[in-house]
Every structure is written in C-alpha cells, then in structure tokens.
C-alpha cells in the first residue's frame, strides 16, 4: 500500500506537480496518464524518493520519512524507463543487484538471495539467458531482465516508468501481461506511467489523469477515457469504443476531400 497526499514539486523554479493525492491498495494497479509534460515521470520519481518536493508519503503504513533507504528499497522497487546498463554485466549479476537492500553492507549474497534471483529468472523465462551479457539483449528481453531485478528486490510496491515505450505491440502486451500475472500471484501494488491510453485502460484497475501537474480525473478506465476528457486535456480528436469490456481509444482524422485518380 502506498499513499501520497498534497504532493508539490518544483523543478528549476517551475511548478511541475501541485497538490497531487494518490493511493494504491495492495494488489492494485494504478496507471498515471496524461499529456506530455503533465508531470507523470516526476510523480513516479517523487514516489521513488528521487525527486525532492513537498507532500506526505506513507509506504506500507509507515511515513516515508522514517524509512531508512535500505528499508525503503525493500518496500518500493523502480523499473526506470531508460535504465543504465553497465557494460559486460551478465543477466544473473544484474538481477542480483536487486538483492542489494537485503545484503548486509559488508556481506555477500546468501543462499536466499541466490534463490530469489533464481525465482525471478525462472518466472520471467530468463534462466537460459542467465549467463548472457545484458547489453547484448533485445529491447523486450532487457525489459524482462529489468522486471526480474525489481522482482528479486522483493518489494511489495513496484513503480514502472513507461514500461512499454521502446517495445513493439506484441512485446508491449507480453510485458504488461507478465506484470499483471506477477501482481496477481504476489499481491504486488503496481504504479505505472503509461503513454498508450488503451493499454493503460486494459491493464490498470484505475487511472489517474494528470494535466499541468494536477490530478484532473481519478477513477476506473471507463470514467477517465472518454472522448470529452481526452479532447479537453490532450487536445486530441479521438473516438472511444468498447472492446472486451475495456475502452479503446482510436485517433480520428477528419474526412478530407480525396482527389479522384
């Protein structure tokens, strides 16, 4: 469970977030959506403790200010949008980095750490790739390795920053399906920022729409993804239809005169 109240963040003297409230229950998937520059990533970074700002944050019933960094890392894992992938590091070693908050500062990884790494690799079908170098993997494989690292971290709250941006539609579905299965099987709370509104609506339980640093709508996909709201906040001309119980956002183009051949 993670709950934020009154989040306000300024970057370079400019207000980026204003009075944002947000709560995610255990096992819930919340997706933060909004137009470019709305403050989605900043909000996620604030939740991860990477951006200073005003506001109250409660993580697993404890005020975030009381948590030591290692404790916090055991509760909240972040999957960054553009991870720094060090040269020459194998998948197994990279996923093992997720165990950092569990390993004593001067200690070495124990059997339970290796077991956690192995579980994460197995869950994401990465065992055959354990010895490969991360920087040599494809985008989809890399994203799975990243999620495996977050999983090995053993945190009940997972923050995903644009988890599908660099992927084709098939891999987008695979990754999101995976996250969904993991949150169901492990009761994870998931907070993601999402560009693709249709995917956000299909996978998240609830959407929060940010515009100019404020929450403008917070609710299930049906209430957030309406033609009127998307026109107002995205300046987008879309049609929203329903498919399989989920809203689908279709970009529209006004009919133009088509020249006769």
């Amino acid at each position: 469970m993670i709950r934020a109240r009154g989040v306000s963040v300024d970057l370079g003297g400019k207000p980026v977030l204003r009075d944002v409230d947000l709560a995610v229950a255990d096992g819930e998937w919340l997706s933060i959506v909004g137009p470019n520059g709305a403050g989605k990533t900043t909000l996620l970074r604030w939740l991860a403790g990477l951006t200073p700002g005003a506001g109250e944050l409660v993580i697993a019933d404890r005020p975030a200010g009381e948590l030591r960094r290692r404790e916090r890392a055991r509760l909240v894992a972040l999957v960054p949008q553009t991870p720094v992938v060090p040269e020459g590091v194998t998948v197994a070693d990279y996923v093992l980095l997720g165990r950092t908050p569990h390993i004593r500062p001067l200690g070495a990884e124990g059997p339970q750490d290796l077991a956690a790494v192995h579980d994460a690799l197995a869950l994401l079908d990465l065992v055959p790739m354990a010895g490969r170098v991360v920087s040599s993997l494809s985008g989809g494989e890399r994203q799975r390795v990243l999620i495996a690292r977050a999983l090995a971290q053993g945190a009940p709250i997972v923050l995903l920053d644009e988890p599908t941006t660099a992927l084709d539609v098939g891999h987008q579905q695979q990754v999101l399906e995976l996250v969904d299965e993991l949150r169901r099987s492990r009761g994870l709370s998931v907070v993601s920022t999402m560009h693709d509104l249709t995917l956000a609506g299909q996978y998240a339980d609830r959407l929060v729409l940010l515009d100019a640093g404020r929450v403008v709508v917070d609710g299930p996909a049906d209430e957030v993804l309406t033609e009127e709201i998307l026109a107002r906040h995205y300046g987008a001309n879309v049609r929203v239809i329903h498919d399989g119980g989920h809203p689908v956002v279709l970009p529209r183009r006004e009919n133009r005169e088509v020249a006769e051949p």
Binding site: R45, G49, R72, P86, T90, D119, E177, E181
Partner: protein, 351 residues
C-alpha cells in the same frame, strides 16, 4: 506466454565471484614475480638459499649476499608489490566510481597533485635521503585537491560528467599542477636532482623505511576498496537506480574516491610517478574475468603487484648496469595499451 507455474529446477546460478582458479592464478603470478625479483640481478643467488632465508633456515650465503637479499632485493620487491597493488586497486576504484574505463590516478590528476605535494615537502626538507614522513600526507592533500578540481571542472556546465569532459578536465588539471610542480622544482635548484629522480619513478632506492611508510596507507586503501567492491557494482547502474536499490551513492562515491586517492598518494610519495598501471591492470583483468568489481578489485591487486615487480625487474636489467626509471617501462607498455583501450571500448568511451 510465460509460464508462471514452473519455478524451474534450481540449477547452479553463476554469479560473479572470485573463483579459486583465478585466485590461484593471481597468487601464482605474485609468487613468480616476487621470485624473479629476488633471484635476478648482478649477483647470482641460488633459489634454494633464498627460500631457506625466507623460511628463516640456515643458508650458505655470505654476509654480502644476505644483505643483498634482505636489504636490497626483498624491500624492493615488497615495495613493488604494494605500489602495484595500490595503483591497480585505486584505478579499478576510480573507473568504477566515475563509470569510465579510462579514469585512473594519472588521468584524473591525482598523481600530479600528489607530485606537487611531495615536491613541496622535498624542497622544504632539503636535506636527507629517504622519503620524508610528511610526504604521503602532502601527497594525499594534493591528490584530493586534484580529483576534486577535475571532477568539478568535468561536471561544470552539464552537471553530469561525460567521459570526454572528465578526461579533458583531467588533462587541464594535470598540466596546471605539473606546471606548478615544475616551478617549485626549478626554484629550488639545490634539490632539483632529488626531485627529478623521484618524479621519474624509482624503486631503486627503496628500503624498508619506504615499505613502512606506505604500508598503513595501502592497507586502509585495500580494506576500503575490497569492502566496497559490491557497492561499485551497484554504482555502475547510475545514481538514481543505486538510490532505489538502497544505496547512498554520493556517500559511497566519496568514500571510494578518498580511499583510492589516499592509496595513490602514498604510492606516489614513495615511488614517484609510475603511470598507466592503474589502467593496464584493471582493464586486462576485466577482459579476462568480466566486469564485476567483486572480482576485478581483488584480482587487480594481485596482478598489479606482480606486474609492477616484473616491470621493475625489466627496468633494472634491460640496460644493466644502468637502471631505467620504472615509469619509463610502464609508460612504454601503457601508452600503446591505452590506445587499444580507447579503440576497443565498446561503449565508445568518448560518448
């Protein structure tokens, strides 16, 4: 779709760790280098006598031979091991902290800063041979100042240090500090020879007093870098991700830079400027065993020690009876190596 039900058979998971095989190779290299350093020289001494001597048994050696082994060759070998291990471990530490395969005590200006510090001490002390006890402290102050300057200059403007800006800043800081050092040196002609000999790097006048001077600093440097080798691996994913993994990256970085600079400074103050060891050794180790600092740091110490003893052996035998400064030997091998690193580093080190 991914199967979540099968957790997979718990087969052996290979993570980076110092394996017995490589540890054995490192120790063997150390023993071979030390043996060669003790045995090879103008005065022939039988290997079994050296072994007996080291074990504290009776030997057939003359007093003269005893003295050569005990007071000349042995301290020189020990000092070479310590200096090589320190410079290599410090290089591995700098490279990890700055996430840059070319960061080393020399390119960052640490050695030049240490050199200025030592030169100031030598011209002040004026008299006496040996290395003044204040040298490591002055060298440390100079080294920290230089690294801080390089880092600040390299980060100026962008807020982040790219490899290119870091190296350029290091070049500028090194040039400036070297100029200052040369100025001090030339203003004090009575000590110029002493300073000059020291700068070129020498283990030739090494005695037990140099070993005693370096040892405590080297031990602190080794202890910190070895204890932080896992941290170095975490720092490799950048500050943001390291933070979300529970680390305080700034704190860790400072600790490692201070330890590496302390080791570099102490090594420079007893042995002079011996360039490239801090790049050649860690880089070769990475090529052999992979990128994890958990393995690179300890193996760099072992191979670095062996490398420097062998380089010293070359320096004192190749033009015998004259001695080349050891810095000439390491530069001779190091400079071409540096070019190879530049060209083969896959990340594109100037990005």
């Amino acid at each position: 779709m991914t199967a979540l039900t099968t957790a997979g058979e718990p087969g052996p998971l290979r993570t980076a760790r110092l394996r017995a095989g490589w540890l054995g190779v490192g120790i063997a290299a150390l023993v071979v280098a030390a043996g060669a350093g003790l045995l090879i020289g103008p005065v022939t001494i039988a290997p079994d006598d050296v072994v007996r001597l080291l074990l504290g048994l009776d030997t057939d050696l003359t007093t003269n031979q005893l003295n050569i082994v005990r007071e000349i060759r042995l301290p020189r070998v020990v000092l070479g091991l310590l200096v090589g291990a320190t410079l290599s471990a410090a290089g591995a530490g700098y490279q990890g902290v700055f996430r840059n395969p070319l960061a080393d005590p020399y390119l960052l200006g640490a050695a030049a800063g240490a050199g200025l510090g030592v030169t100031l001490v030598i011209v002040r002390a004026a008299e006496g041979s040996g290395t003044p006890a204040a040298a490591p402290v002055a060298a440390f102050a100079g080294a920290m100042l230089a690294v801080a300057l390089t880092y600040a200059l390299g980060a100026a403007g962008s807020g982040r240090t790219s490899t290119a800006s870091l190296i350029l800043a290091g070049v500028a800081v090194t040039s400036f500090l070297t100029a200052a050092q040369t100025y001090v040196q030339q203003r004090n002609l009575d000590t110029v020879r002493q300073v000059y000999v020291w700068i070129l790097g020498r283990l030739s006048t090494a005695g037990w007093s140099e070993v005693r001077l370096l040892l405590p600093y080297a031990v602190v440097c080794f202890a910190v870098l070895l204890s932080q080798r896992r941290t170095l691996d975490v720092l490799a994913v950048g500050d943001d991700e390291a933070s979300t993994l529970g680390l305080h990256p700034q704190r860790s970085r400072l600790l490692i830079v201070v330890a590496a600079s302390l080791g570099t400074a102490a090594a420079v103050s007893v042995s002079g400027l011996i360039a490239f060891v801090g790049i050649i050794v860690p880089h070769t180790v990475r090529l052999l065993v992979g990128a994890s600092h958990r393995v690179v740091v300890p193996l760099s110490m072992l191979f670095g020690g062996a490398f420097l003893v062998l380089a010293d052996l070359l320096a004192r035998t190749i033009a015998s009876p004259a001695e080349l400064p050891i810095g000439v030997v390491t530069a001779f091998f190091g400079a071409p190596f540096f070019v190879v690193v530049l060209r083969t580093s896959r990340r594109g080190v100037l990005s």
